[in-house]
C-alpha cells in the first residue's frame, strides 16, 4: 500500500539578493505567488489524504462485516481453498465440525485431508476424473455449483455426513482463484431417515406375519365343508374385511416409504386401461351398492393401451373410484369415463390432434359428492392430509390414497388434476401418455 505524508512539503530556500531601499521589489511578488501556490498544494494534499483515509476505513469495515458474518456461522462449515485445494478460509463452523482451529489449518492443510479417500476414489471412478480434489470439484466445475453428501473426517477421526455445496471462487479480476465449500452436518438427519426406513420395513414385516395367520385360517374356516350359520359367516366376513383393510394400510405405508427412499420401481408392460377401469368398477361395486351410489362406466369401444405397471395403475384407479364412492351421499352417481385425447406441449389436452401434440389416455372419475373446499385443493395430494369435508362427514381413511395415486401417476409420466366445487362434486382426471404406435 502507498502511504502519503500529510505534512506540508518543505519550502525550498531561495537565495535572493537584497533589494534597494525605496523601490518595490519584484521578488516580493514572486515570493507571494509561490507561497500561495504552496498553500493550495498543501490543502489539496490534505483533502486527498482524508479521502484515502475514509476509503481505507470503509474497506476495512466491509472486510470486517464479511469476516464477522462468516465467523457468526457456527453451525455450517465455510471453507475456502485456492485452486490446489489448500485451505485459505476456515470459519468457526468448520472449527466446530472438524475439530481444528484456524491457525492449524489455513495455508497448511488441503480440503482433501478432511475427506474420506475411498469416497473420493469412488467418485473419481464414477465421473471419470482424476482422483482427489478433481473428483471433489468435478461437478461444480462442470455445472457452476454442486450440492451432495460427502463424508468429512474430523481431527479425532470421527466421520460426519455433510451436505456440501461446492462453488468455484474468482478473484477481483474474474480469474478462477479457488473453491468454496459450505457444509451442513446431516449425520443425525440421515441416520433418522435410515431408521425410519428400517422401522417401516420391520413394521411391515411384523404386521404381515400375523395377518397371514388371520387371513389364512379365516379362509380355511369360511371354506370348511361344515357349513357355518349365517350369523357366524357374517361375523367372520367382517373380520376378514377388516384384516384386508389392515393389510392394505400396511401396503400403503410400505409403498409410501419406498417412494420416499426413491426405491419405487415400475415394471412397465402394455396395460389396457379399459381393463383396469373395469376391474376398479368391479372392486367398488359392492361398496357403491351398499352406499346407494350409482356407478356409471363409459369406455371406448377399443381398449386404450399405455405402457405401465398394471398392479400400480390398478391401485391408482381403485383409489380414485373408492374415494369417489366414499365421498358421495346415497342417491349420487360416480362416473368413470375413459377416452383418448391429445396433449399439447403446454400441457393442454384436447380431443382433436394438433401438430406437436402427443396421444394420451384420460380417465375422469366424477362424483356428485361433498366436494373439496378451494383452499384445500392444493394440499390434497400431501400425505396424511384430510379435507375438512372428509373430517366433518367422518369419512374413514388416513390420507394416503391420493398421495400414492399422485406418485404412481408421476412415475408413469402422467398428471393428476382435479376440479371441485364444495357441495357439487369433484372430478379427478388422470392423464397418461399412450404407448408409441
Amino acid at each position: 500500500m502507498t502511504t502519503i505524508d500529510p505534512r506540508p512539503a518543505p519550502v525550498r530556500a531561495v537565495r535572493v539578493p537584497r533589494p534597494r531601499a525605496g523601490s518595490p521589489d519584484p521578488r516580493d511578488a514572486e515570493l507571494d505567488r509561490l507561497r500561495k501556490e504552496n498553500a493550495a498544494l498543501l490543502a489539496q494534499e490534505r483533502t486527498r489524504a482524508d479521502e484515502l483515509d475514509v476509503a481505507t476505513r470503509m474497506l476495512a469495515a466491509r472486510a470486517q462485516t464479511m469476516t464477522s458474518v462468516i465467523d457468526a456461522v457456527t453451525e455450517q462449515s465455510i471453507i475456502g481453498t485456492d485452486r490446489d485445494g489448500v485451505i485459505r478460509v476456515w470459519n468457526p463452523g468448520a472449527e466446530k465440525m472438524l475439530g481444528l482451529p484456524r491457525s492449524e489449518v489455513v495455508r497448511q492443510r488441503s480440503i482433501v485431508d478432511f475427506h474420506l479417500a475411498e469416497e473420493l476414489d469412488a467418485q473419481a471412478e464414477t465421473c471419470g476424473s482424476a482422483p482427489g480434489l478433481a473428483a471433489l470439484v468435478h461437478a461444480a466445475h462442470a455445472h457452476g455449483s454442486d450440492v451432495r453428501d460427502w463424508t468429512y473426517v474430523a481431527a479425532d477421526g470421527q466421520q460426519r455426513t455433510v451436505s456440501v455445496a461446492v462453488t468455484p471462487r474468482t478473484d477481483d479480476r474474474g480469474v478462477h482463484a479457488g473453491w468454496n465449500f459450505v457444509g451442513t452436518d446431516m449425520t443425525e438427519a440421515r441416520a433418522t431417515e435410515r431408521m425410519k426406513d428400517q422401522f417401516v420395513s420391520l413394521i411391515s414385516h411384523e404386521l404381515r406375519t400375523p395377518l397371514t395367520s388371520i387371513l389364512g385360517y379365516l379362509e380355511l374356516v369360511l371354506e370348511d365343508e361344515q357349513p357355518l350359520t349365517d350369523e357366524q359367516r357374517k361375523y367372520l366376513t367382517t373380520v376378514e374385511r377388516n384384516a384386508d383393510r389392515l393389510l392394505r394400510l400396511v401396503g400403503d405405508l410400505l409403498f409410501t416409504a419406498q417412494v420416499d427412499a426413491g426405491r419405487f420401481s415400475l415394471e412397465p408392460h402394455d396395460v389396457d386401461l379399459a381393463g383396469v377401469v373395469r376391474a376398479a368398477e368391479e372392486t367398488a361395486r359392492v361398496a357403491a351398492a351398499t352406499a346407494g351410489v350409482r356407478l356409471v362406466v363409459d369406455l371406448p369401444a377399443s381398449g386404450l393401451v399405455v405402457p405401465g405397471d398394471a398392479v400400480r395403475l390398478g391401485q391408482a384407479c381403485d383409489n380414485l373410484v373408492s374415494n369417489a364412492v366414499k365421498f358421495t351421499p346415497a342417491g349420487g352417481t360416480v362416473t368413470l369415463s375413459l377416452r383418448s385425447a391429445w396433449a399439447a406441449a403446454d400441457g393442454t389436452v384436447s380431443a382433436e390432434g394438433r401438430p406437436g401434440a402427443s396421444p394420451v389416455a384420460q380417465l375422469a372419475v366424477t362424483d356428485t359428492g361433498m366436494g373439496i373446499p378451494t383452499g384445500e385443493q392444493g394440499k390434497l395430494f400431501t400425505r396424511f392430509f384430510r379435507s375438512s369435508t372428509a373430517q366433518r362427514a367422518a369419512v374413514p381413511g388416513v390420507g394416503l390414497g391420493l398421495a400414492i395415486t399422485k406418485a404412481i401417476t408421476t412415475a408413469h409420466g402422467g398428471t393428476l388434476d382435479l376440479v371441485s366445487a364444495e357441495g357439487a362434486g369433484t372430478t379427478f382426471t388422470l392423464t397418461l401418455p399412450l404407448a408409441a404406435a
Binding site: 414385516h205 404381515r208 406375519t209 397371514t212 389364512g216 385360517y217 379362509e219 380355511l220 420401481s265
Partner: protein, 140 residues
C-alpha cells in the same frame, strides 16, 4: 424344535409326494402344512429354521421344499442357494414364502433358484395351486 409329521401311506398307492415345510412362525407353519395336505401331499415334514431345513432336505430328499424367506440364522434364500449348489439336492422343487412383496424381493428369490414365489399374506387357495403345480412337476 423339529416336528416331523408323517402320515402312513396305504399299501399299493403311488408313492406320495414328499414335502418339506420350513417356517419359524408356528401358526404359519401349521397353516402351510394344512394347505400342503389340501393339495394332496400326504408325506410332510416341517421344521422351524433354515439349518434344520437344509439338514432334512439332504437326509430326506423331499420332492418339494416350501421355505419361508425370513428365518433366523439361515434364511430361506440361503437354503435355496445351498440346495441348488449341491447336485444331490439340486432337483428339489422350491417354493419361497416371504413377507417382502416388492418386485426386488421376487427377483432375489428367483435368482436364488426358487421355482415359485408367494408373498405373505398368501391365500390358501393360491398356495394349494402352487403346491399342486410343483408336485405335478411344472412351475406354477
Amino acid at each position: 424344535m423339529d416336528e416331523a409329521v408323517s402320515v402312513p401311506v396305504p399299501a399299493g398307492a403311488p408313492s406320495p409326494v414328499r414335502v418339506l415345510v420350513a417356517d419359524d412362525e408356528d401358526d404359519i407353519r401349521a397353516l402351510v402344512c394344512l394347505a400342503v395336505a389340501k393339495a394332496g401331499c400326504t408325506a410332510t415334514t416341517s421344521v422351524a429354521d433354515g439349518g434344520a431345513a437344509l439338514a432334512h432336505a439332504r437326509a430326506g430328499q423331499p420332492d418339494i421344499a416350501v421355505l419361508d424367506v425370513s428365518m433366523p440364522g439361515m434364511t430361506g434364500l440361503d437354503v435355496c442357494t445351498a440346495l441348488r449348489a449341491d447336485p444331490a439336492t439340486a432337483g428339489i422343487r422350491i417354493l419361497l414364502l416371504s413377507a417382502g412383496a416388492s418386485s426386488d424381493d421376487v427377483a432375489r428369490g428367483l435368482a436364488a433358484g426358487a421355482d415359485a414365489y408367494l408373498a405373505k399374506p398368501f391365500g390358501i387357495a393360491a398356495l394349494v395351486r402352487q403346491v399342486r403345480a410343483l408336485s405335478a412337476g411344472q412351475p406354477a
